[in-house]
Symmetry: C2
Subunit: 329 residues, 2 copies
């Protein structure tokens, strides 16, 4: 089974974006709330949106299953207040659940979390745990997105290794689901979104992990760094040096039991570097607007076993709830 | 001639750091100023510091000339006010000038700029131009460091492509000196310095440049991205896509007449990627605590002409004032 671990519902029906626009505008204008129940989307619209988007991609690329999340960039948790982000997460996740349900066996849900920046951060983690439980236990989701910068481009929150995040990590461990560490939009003109903030987010978090002992406290916590880990594999020797300087075990031992990299890297040379530097058991297939799988197919440096691990076996291990879905089919 | 384009005076005599500590403390306590004239360092101390640091590195690695700047991380322009950064730049640059003068033909100066974050940014650019002129015209420097985030980890300034920076770019063009775009320290615990902020700084600025037409306004401006360009070569295909999406010429045409990458990448696989993806004429040798030159020597993918360009010819082109220094010897 070929599994794409990083599918975003970027083609969601326009009603979703319109609801979000109204939600933000009403709150900013008068602290008025547009409620989740005001979003009406027919099944037909969802079917059309998926068939022209992620399902088409599956067919074009020969993948069997896509882990489907809301559009990560649009989580944009800096808007409004904690309740704004809670409602937005609920409607976004409910839509993922419906889309997955309409195409049995093709998608598994990955949820957005109602994080909040600033003073609301700590209390928002409680709301994240509640929404994570709802998505996993009631809606059958297999993972979540975790934004390491809910201020959206200004890095106003403590590192993910801060104890403020521990309740969320406890829930992830208990539910046995991983988190993909994915920043949302950047509202900072100095750090543009998709080609700077997305990459820098993965890089920053990897270094946070190098400086902490988070995985000693949470030995079965699993985090996925998207975009091939940002700058990390390219500078692997630099991080090796960090661990050495701290007198700690090598990266492989200290981090690679818990940290995984996806293959959302555009271009053959980058994918060669990723698969040469990072052990195959730590790499998860992620497709992209560019077809990364076709490039991976062409790499003669990948062994059969390595390719099988990257294309699906690792995902079944990192997202163990996928096996339950598989068994239910 | 083998030229290391990225040497920092990290082994500066302890008196420099003590002066800086007193400067910050006095200002924070009572807005009192410790003046540049209060820093006393003997030539002997400088000789010892250089001989055990950058000169030893030259001998160990077989480089002939090092572009020597103040310790980039310690520029830390968020401390104090505009005058704090001005004084700190002056003493730091004067020390570089003295060190270069004590070892004729071994070093050429690259200056720190008295940038300031926040509201003082625009006026600080005027001070940067004055200090740049002093360093180039009076002290014989050949380039400068330019910090794209003088808030030191929170990215509070506009992108480098903003018109606020134009007076500095005009001076760089007129004086025919390049800028190495190098963030300073990070005071943000979520984005640690050397292994996240340094790399993310280069990545963010490359994307700023992809989104602007700065080099149409300043066709002879030259910017160097340290640390192999952060995440950029690893994600080269992603940036290609950005230019395509904007209907602009390819990266090679739009940016590579003006943007250069240094080789400060730890590890063979990273250096292979850099030299495979980026044309040799856009790469400048930079040594590191790890000996990048020894690794580059071992790469059989580099041609003789490419290696000659990377090891010295490009530096003479990007830093044309080096030729004047060379002629004066």
């Amino acid at each position: 089974m070929i599994i794409d671990c990083h599918g975003q519902f970027t083609t969601a029906p326009p009603a979703l974006g319109k609801w979000r626009g109204r939600q933000i505008k009403a709150y900013e204008a008068s602290r008025f709330r547009i409620l989740p129940g005001e979003l009406i989307i027919d099944d037909d619209e969802i079917v059309t949106a998926i068939e022209g988007g992620q399902l088409k991609r599956q067919r074009d690329r020969g993948t069997d299953l896509t882990l489907l999340s809301p559009d990560a960039g649009k989580a944009a948790q800096h808007y409004g207040d904690a309740r704004t982000s809670l409602h937005w997460s609920q409607v976004s996740n409910d839509l993922i659940a419906r889309a997955s349900g309409l195409f049995p066996g093709r998608f598994a849900g990955v949820c957005q979390l109602p994080q909040s920046p600033g003073e609301a951060l700590a209390s928002s983690i409680g709301a994240c745990v509640t929404e994570l439980r709802r998505c996993v236990e009631e809606l059958g989701f297999v993972g979540c997105l975790l934004n390491p910068d809910p201020s959206d481009g200004y890095w106003q929150a403590p590192p993910l290794t801060d104890p403020v995040y521990h309740p969320l990590f406890e829930a992830l461990v208990e539910l046995d689901v991983p988190a993909m560490v994915h920043v949302a939009t950047s509202r900072n003109p100095a750090v543009p979104g998709g080609c700077a903030h997305y990459l820098n987010g993965a890089t920053a978090v990897f270094m946070q992990l190098c400086q902490s002992r988070l995985f000693e406290d949470f030995p079965s916590l699993r985090l996925i760094l998207p975009y091939g880990g940002g700058a990390v594999p390219y500078h692997w020797g630099r991080y090796r040096g960090v661990m050495l300087d701290q007198g700690r075990p090598p990266l492989e031992e200290a981090l690679l039991g818990n940290v995984f990299f996806d293959t959302r890297v555009v271009g053959k040379r980058g994918l060669e570097l990723l698969t040469d530097v990072i052990p195959a058991e730590n790499i998860l297939l992620a497709s992209d607007t560019a077809d990364t799988k076709a490039i991976l197919d062409s790499l003669d440096t990948l062994t059969g076993a390595g390719r099988a691990a990257i294309y699906g076996e690792n995902a079944l291990r990192v997202f163990p709830r996928l096996r339950k879905l598989e068994a239910a089919l």
